[in-house]
Protein backbone atom coordinates (compact mmCIF):
# COMPACT_ATOMS: atom_id res chain seq x y z
CA UNK A 1 0.00 0.00 0.00
CA UNK A 2 2.68 2.52 1.07
CA UNK A 3 4.92 1.20 -1.71
CA UNK A 4 2.09 1.66 -4.19
CA UNK A 5 1.56 5.29 -3.17
CA UNK A 6 5.30 5.91 -3.32
CA UNK A 7 5.27 4.50 -6.85
CA UNK A 8 2.26 6.71 -7.61
CA UNK A 9 4.07 9.85 -6.47
CA UNK A 10 7.03 9.12 -8.72
CA UNK A 11 4.76 8.32 -11.70
CA UNK A 12 2.64 11.39 -11.04
CA UNK A 13 5.69 13.67 -10.95
CA UNK A 14 6.78 12.63 -14.43
CA UNK A 15 3.25 12.70 -15.81
CA UNK A 16 2.69 16.24 -14.55
CA UNK A 17 6.09 17.33 -15.89
CA UNK A 18 5.15 15.88 -19.28
CA UNK A 19 1.74 17.59 -19.21
CA UNK A 20 3.33 20.94 -18.31
CA UNK A 21 5.74 20.73 -21.25
CA UNK A 22 3.00 19.70 -23.71
CA UNK A 23 0.64 22.39 -22.40
CA UNK A 24 3.23 25.17 -22.61
CA UNK A 25 4.50 24.17 -26.07
CA UNK A 26 0.97 23.69 -27.41
CA UNK A 27 -0.10 27.07 -26.06
CA UNK A 28 2.86 28.82 -27.70
CA UNK A 29 2.28 27.09 -31.02
CA UNK A 30 -1.47 27.50 -31.38
CA UNK A 31 -3.10 30.67 -32.74
CA UNK A 32 -5.68 30.67 -29.92
CA UNK A 33 -2.92 30.57 -27.29
CA UNK A 34 -3.27 32.87 -24.30
CA UNK A 35 -0.58 34.92 -22.51
CA UNK A 36 1.11 33.05 -19.65
CA UNK A 37 0.27 35.91 -17.30
CA UNK A 38 -3.13 37.40 -18.05
CA UNK A 39 -4.56 40.85 -17.42
CA UNK A 40 -7.41 40.37 -14.93
CA UNK A 41 -7.98 44.04 -14.06
CA UNK A 42 -11.64 45.15 -13.83
CA UNK A 43 -11.28 46.86 -17.21
CA UNK A 44 -9.91 43.73 -18.87
CA UNK A 45 -12.65 41.56 -17.37
CA UNK A 46 -15.28 44.05 -18.54
CA UNK A 47 -13.81 43.82 -22.03
CA UNK A 48 -14.12 40.04 -21.93
CA UNK A 49 -17.80 40.16 -20.95
CA UNK A 50 -19.01 43.30 -22.67
CA UNK A 51 -16.23 44.38 -25.03
CA UNK A 52 -18.64 44.30 -27.96
CA UNK A 53 -21.38 46.23 -26.12
CA UNK A 54 -22.01 49.78 -24.97
CA UNK A 55 -21.12 50.22 -21.30
CA UNK A 56 -22.03 52.97 -18.86
CA UNK A 57 -20.15 53.79 -15.67
CA UNK A 58 -22.07 53.35 -12.43
CA UNK A 59 -21.74 57.08 -11.57
CA UNK A 60 -23.15 58.12 -14.95
CA UNK A 61 -25.96 55.60 -14.53
CA UNK A 62 -26.77 57.12 -11.14
CA UNK A 63 -26.82 60.63 -12.65
CA UNK A 64 -29.29 59.49 -15.30
CA UNK A 65 -31.49 57.85 -12.67
CA UNK A 66 -31.46 61.07 -10.62
CA UNK A 67 -32.72 62.94 -13.68
CA UNK A 68 -35.31 60.20 -14.26
CA UNK A 69 -33.73 59.43 -17.59
CA UNK A 70 -32.83 55.79 -16.94
CA UNK A 71 -34.58 52.47 -16.49
CA UNK A 72 -32.69 49.48 -15.11
CA UNK A 73 -32.89 45.82 -15.98
CA UNK A 74 -31.59 43.47 -13.30
CA UNK A 75 -30.22 40.32 -14.97
CA UNK A 76 -29.58 38.40 -11.73
CA UNK A 77 -31.62 35.46 -10.47
CA UNK A 78 -35.05 36.33 -8.99
CA UNK A 79 -33.82 35.50 -5.48
CA UNK A 80 -31.03 38.06 -5.65
CA UNK A 81 -33.40 40.62 -7.15
CA UNK A 82 -35.90 40.09 -4.34
CA UNK A 83 -33.13 40.75 -1.82
CA UNK A 84 -32.69 44.31 -3.11
CA UNK A 85 -32.27 46.11 -6.41
CA UNK A 86 -31.85 49.51 -8.04
CA UNK A 87 -35.09 51.56 -7.71
CA UNK A 88 -37.60 50.86 -10.45
CA UNK A 89 -35.60 48.07 -12.03
CA UNK A 90 -37.20 45.10 -13.74
CA UNK A 91 -35.85 41.56 -13.27
CA UNK A 92 -35.11 39.83 -16.56
CA UNK A 93 -32.57 37.00 -16.67
CA UNK A 94 -30.76 36.15 -19.92
CA UNK A 95 -32.93 33.05 -20.29
CA UNK A 96 -36.08 35.19 -20.29
CA UNK A 97 -34.93 37.53 -23.08
CA UNK A 98 -37.26 36.15 -25.75
CA UNK A 99 -40.43 35.76 -23.68
CA UNK A 100 -40.20 39.26 -22.18
CA UNK A 101 -39.33 41.06 -25.38
CA UNK A 102 -42.59 43.01 -25.26
CA UNK A 103 -41.79 44.47 -21.86
CA UNK A 104 -38.37 45.59 -23.03
CA UNK A 105 -39.92 47.26 -26.08
CA UNK A 106 -42.36 49.13 -23.84
CA UNK A 107 -39.47 50.28 -21.67
CA UNK A 108 -37.58 51.52 -24.73
CA UNK A 109 -40.62 53.48 -25.89
CA UNK A 110 -40.39 55.67 -22.78
CA UNK A 111 -37.33 57.23 -24.39
CA UNK A 112 -35.24 56.60 -21.29
CA UNK A 113 -31.83 54.94 -21.34
CA UNK A 114 -32.06 51.23 -20.61
CA UNK A 115 -29.25 49.93 -18.41
CA UNK A 116 -28.64 46.25 -17.62
CA UNK A 117 -26.66 45.13 -14.58
CA UNK A 118 -25.89 42.03 -12.55
CA UNK A 119 -23.70 41.30 -9.51
CA UNK A 120 -20.34 42.89 -10.27
CA UNK A 121 -17.57 43.27 -12.83
CA UNK A 122 -17.04 39.49 -12.91
CA UNK A 123 -20.68 38.70 -13.65
CA UNK A 124 -21.51 37.90 -17.31
CA UNK A 125 -25.32 37.89 -17.01
CA UNK A 126 -26.03 41.53 -17.95
CA UNK A 127 -23.84 41.34 -21.05
CA UNK A 128 -25.38 37.99 -21.92
CA UNK A 129 -28.88 39.47 -21.66
CA UNK A 130 -28.03 42.50 -23.79
CA UNK A 131 -26.41 40.26 -26.39
CA UNK A 132 -29.49 38.03 -26.59
CA UNK A 133 -31.80 41.03 -26.87
CA UNK A 134 -29.53 42.32 -29.62
CA UNK A 135 -30.01 39.07 -31.52
CA UNK A 136 -33.76 39.61 -31.16
CA UNK A 137 -33.45 43.04 -32.76
CA UNK A 138 -33.33 45.23 -29.68
CA UNK A 139 -30.34 47.55 -29.52
CA UNK A 140 -29.36 50.56 -27.42
CA UNK A 141 -29.28 48.80 -24.07
CA UNK A 142 -26.19 49.66 -22.07
CA UNK A 143 -24.34 47.47 -19.61
CA UNK A 144 -23.27 48.80 -16.21
CA UNK A 145 -20.23 46.59 -15.44
CA UNK A 146 -19.86 47.63 -11.77
CA UNK A 147 -23.25 46.03 -11.14
CA UNK A 148 -25.19 45.77 -7.90
CA UNK A 149 -22.00 45.60 -5.80
CA UNK A 150 -20.56 48.77 -7.35
CA UNK A 151 -23.89 50.52 -6.83
CA UNK A 152 -24.09 49.55 -3.16
CA UNK A 153 -20.40 50.36 -2.54
CA UNK A 154 -21.16 53.94 -3.51
CA UNK A 155 -24.16 54.10 -1.20
CA UNK A 156 -26.62 54.80 -4.02
CA UNK A 157 -30.32 54.25 -3.27
CA UNK A 158 -31.95 50.84 -3.58
CA UNK A 159 -35.28 49.25 -2.87
Amino acid sequence: MIERIRQGVINAFWMVAFAVIVGVVFNMARPAGIPFVGDWSPKAVTDIHAGDLEVIHVDDAFDLLSQEKALFIDAREPGAFAGGHIPGSVNITPGQAAERLGEVRTMLETGKTLIAYCYDVDCPLAAELVRRLGELGIRNIKVMPEGWTGWMDRGYPYE
Binding site: G8, A12, F13, V20, G23, P35, D122
Partner: protein, 167 residues
Protein backbone atom coordinates in the same frame (compact mmCIF):
# COMPACT_ATOMS: atom_id res chain seq x y z
CA UNK B 1 -9.04 -13.44 12.33
CA UNK B 2 -6.40 -14.49 9.83
CA UNK B 3 -8.99 -16.48 7.98
CA UNK B 4 -11.20 -13.42 7.67
CA UNK B 5 -8.29 -11.36 6.37
CA UNK B 6 -7.53 -14.06 3.88
CA UNK B 7 -11.14 -14.07 2.67
CA UNK B 8 -11.10 -10.28 2.24
CA UNK B 9 -7.87 -10.42 0.24
CA UNK B 10 -9.27 -13.20 -1.89
CA UNK B 11 -12.30 -11.06 -2.63
CA UNK B 12 -10.18 -7.98 -3.44
CA UNK B 13 -8.10 -10.03 -5.87
CA UNK B 14 -11.07 -11.81 -7.42
CA UNK B 15 -11.75 -11.33 -11.08
CA UNK B 16 -15.20 -9.94 -10.32
CA UNK B 17 -14.00 -7.19 -7.99
CA UNK B 18 -11.01 -6.37 -10.17
CA UNK B 19 -13.30 -6.06 -13.21
CA UNK B 20 -15.35 -3.47 -11.35
CA UNK B 21 -12.21 -1.57 -10.35
CA UNK B 22 -10.94 -1.67 -13.93
CA UNK B 23 -14.31 -0.43 -15.19
CA UNK B 24 -14.26 2.47 -12.71
CA UNK B 25 -10.67 3.24 -13.73
CA UNK B 26 -11.51 3.41 -17.44
CA UNK B 27 -14.69 5.44 -16.80
CA UNK B 28 -12.77 7.95 -14.67
CA UNK B 29 -10.10 8.13 -17.34
CA UNK B 30 -12.58 8.82 -20.14
CA UNK B 31 -14.22 11.49 -18.00
CA UNK B 32 -10.90 13.25 -17.38
CA UNK B 33 -9.80 13.08 -21.01
CA UNK B 34 -13.14 14.57 -22.04
CA UNK B 35 -13.05 17.25 -19.33
CA UNK B 36 -9.51 18.20 -20.35
CA UNK B 37 -10.31 18.38 -24.06
CA UNK B 38 -13.31 20.69 -23.57
CA UNK B 39 -10.95 23.11 -21.80
CA UNK B 40 -8.10 22.79 -24.29
CA UNK B 41 -10.51 23.75 -27.08
CA UNK B 42 -11.30 27.10 -25.43
CA UNK B 43 -8.31 28.28 -23.33
CA UNK B 44 -9.52 31.87 -22.90
CA UNK B 45 -12.92 30.70 -21.69
CA UNK B 46 -11.37 28.27 -19.24
CA UNK B 47 -9.00 30.97 -17.94
CA UNK B 48 -12.09 33.06 -17.19
CA UNK B 49 -13.67 30.13 -15.34
CA UNK B 50 -10.49 29.74 -13.25
CA UNK B 51 -10.41 33.48 -12.56
CA UNK B 52 -14.06 33.41 -11.47
CA UNK B 53 -13.27 30.92 -8.71
CA UNK B 54 -11.34 33.75 -7.01
CA UNK B 55 -8.96 31.32 -5.35
CA UNK B 56 -5.73 31.77 -7.31
CA UNK B 57 -3.79 35.04 -7.55
CA UNK B 58 -4.47 36.71 -10.92
CA UNK B 59 -0.89 36.06 -12.06
CA UNK B 60 -1.36 32.28 -11.80
CA UNK B 61 -4.76 32.08 -13.53
CA UNK B 62 -3.53 31.72 -17.10
CA UNK B 63 -0.73 29.28 -16.34
CA UNK B 64 -3.25 27.09 -14.54
CA UNK B 65 -5.65 27.31 -17.47
CA UNK B 66 -2.85 26.35 -19.88
CA UNK B 67 -1.46 23.41 -17.92
CA UNK B 68 -4.34 21.92 -15.91
CA UNK B 69 -6.34 20.53 -18.89
CA UNK B 70 -3.24 18.69 -20.11
CA UNK B 71 -2.67 17.18 -16.69
CA UNK B 72 -6.26 15.93 -16.88
CA UNK B 73 -5.75 14.49 -20.36
CA UNK B 74 -2.43 12.79 -19.54
CA UNK B 75 -3.70 11.28 -16.27
CA UNK B 76 -7.00 10.28 -17.89
CA UNK B 77 -5.26 8.61 -20.84
CA UNK B 78 -3.03 6.61 -18.49
CA UNK B 79 -6.08 5.38 -16.56
CA UNK B 80 -7.90 4.36 -19.74
CA UNK B 81 -4.91 2.52 -21.19
CA UNK B 82 -3.74 1.13 -17.88
CA UNK B 83 -0.30 2.72 -17.91
CA UNK B 84 1.33 3.93 -14.67
CA UNK B 85 -2.02 3.45 -12.94
CA UNK B 86 -0.87 4.52 -9.43
CA UNK B 87 0.38 7.82 -10.88
CA UNK B 88 -2.78 8.45 -12.89
CA UNK B 89 -5.02 7.56 -9.97
CA UNK B 90 -3.00 9.74 -7.60
CA UNK B 91 -3.21 12.76 -9.94
CA UNK B 92 -6.93 12.28 -10.53
CA UNK B 93 -7.52 11.91 -6.77
CA UNK B 94 -5.47 15.02 -6.09
CA UNK B 95 -7.31 17.05 -8.72
CA UNK B 96 -10.71 15.88 -7.48
CA UNK B 97 -9.70 16.81 -3.95
CA UNK B 98 -8.68 20.30 -5.06
CA UNK B 99 -11.86 20.70 -7.16
CA UNK B 100 -14.03 19.57 -4.25
CA UNK B 101 -12.40 22.02 -1.86
CA UNK B 102 -12.63 24.88 -4.39
CA UNK B 103 -16.28 24.11 -5.11
CA UNK B 104 -17.19 23.78 -1.46
CA UNK B 105 -15.37 27.00 -0.59
CA UNK B 106 -17.20 28.99 -3.26
CA UNK B 107 -20.57 27.39 -2.56
CA UNK B 108 -20.22 28.24 1.12
CA UNK B 109 -19.43 31.86 0.34
CA UNK B 110 -22.38 31.94 -2.06
CA UNK B 111 -20.43 32.72 -5.22
CA UNK B 112 -22.63 32.37 -8.30
CA UNK B 113 -20.18 31.15 -10.91
CA UNK B 114 -19.84 28.66 -13.73
CA UNK B 115 -18.47 25.25 -12.79
CA UNK B 116 -15.82 25.15 -15.53
CA UNK B 117 -15.90 21.39 -15.11
CA UNK B 118 -16.89 20.01 -18.50
CA UNK B 119 -17.16 23.28 -20.41
CA UNK B 120 -15.43 26.64 -20.65
CA UNK B 121 -18.61 28.65 -21.12
CA UNK B 122 -19.09 31.33 -18.44
CA UNK B 123 -22.90 31.15 -18.48
CA UNK B 124 -23.54 27.40 -18.55
CA UNK B 125 -23.41 24.99 -15.63
CA UNK B 126 -23.62 27.07 -12.46
CA UNK B 127 -22.05 25.44 -9.43
CA UNK B 128 -24.45 23.73 -7.04
CA UNK B 129 -24.17 21.42 -4.04
CA UNK B 130 -24.88 18.57 -6.45
CA UNK B 131 -21.48 19.16 -8.08
CA UNK B 132 -19.86 18.88 -4.67
CA UNK B 133 -21.51 15.50 -4.14
CA UNK B 134 -20.43 14.43 -7.61
CA UNK B 135 -16.80 15.42 -7.04
CA UNK B 136 -16.78 13.77 -3.63
CA UNK B 137 -18.08 10.48 -5.08
CA UNK B 138 -15.56 10.59 -7.92
CA UNK B 139 -12.81 11.21 -5.37
CA UNK B 140 -13.80 8.06 -3.49
CA UNK B 141 -13.80 6.13 -6.78
CA UNK B 142 -10.35 7.46 -7.72
CA UNK B 143 -8.92 6.53 -4.30
CA UNK B 144 -10.44 3.08 -4.79
CA UNK B 145 -8.54 2.73 -8.05
CA UNK B 146 -5.35 3.99 -6.41
CA UNK B 147 -5.54 1.42 -3.64
CA UNK B 148 -7.19 -1.63 -5.24
CA UNK B 149 -6.39 -1.68 -8.97
CA UNK B 150 -4.20 -4.69 -9.77
CA UNK B 151 -3.82 -3.87 -13.43
CA UNK B 152 -6.61 -5.94 -14.97
CA UNK B 153 -7.23 -4.90 -18.61
CA UNK B 154 -4.13 -2.72 -18.40
CA UNK B 155 -1.51 -2.24 -21.08
CA UNK B 156 1.41 -1.78 -18.69
CA UNK B 157 2.56 -5.42 -18.62
CA UNK B 158 2.09 -5.86 -22.35
CA UNK B 159 4.03 -2.70 -23.20
CA UNK B 160 6.75 -2.67 -20.56
CA UNK B 161 6.68 -6.21 -19.28
CA UNK B 162 6.41 -4.88 -15.73
CA UNK B 163 3.35 -4.30 -13.56
CA UNK B 164 1.90 -0.78 -13.32
CA UNK B 165 2.80 -0.74 -9.67
CA UNK B 166 3.77 -3.10 -6.90
CA UNK B 167 1.36 -6.00 -6.97
Amino acid sequence: MNEQKHAVNEFLDSKGFQSIVAFVRVALGIMFVYAGLTKIVAPAGFALAVYNYHILPASLVNVTAIVLPWVEVVAGTCLVLGLWIPGGALIVSGLLFVFTVALGFNLSRGLDIACGCFSSSPTAEKITWWYLLRDGSLLVAALGVLVYDRGLFALQKKVFGSPAGPE
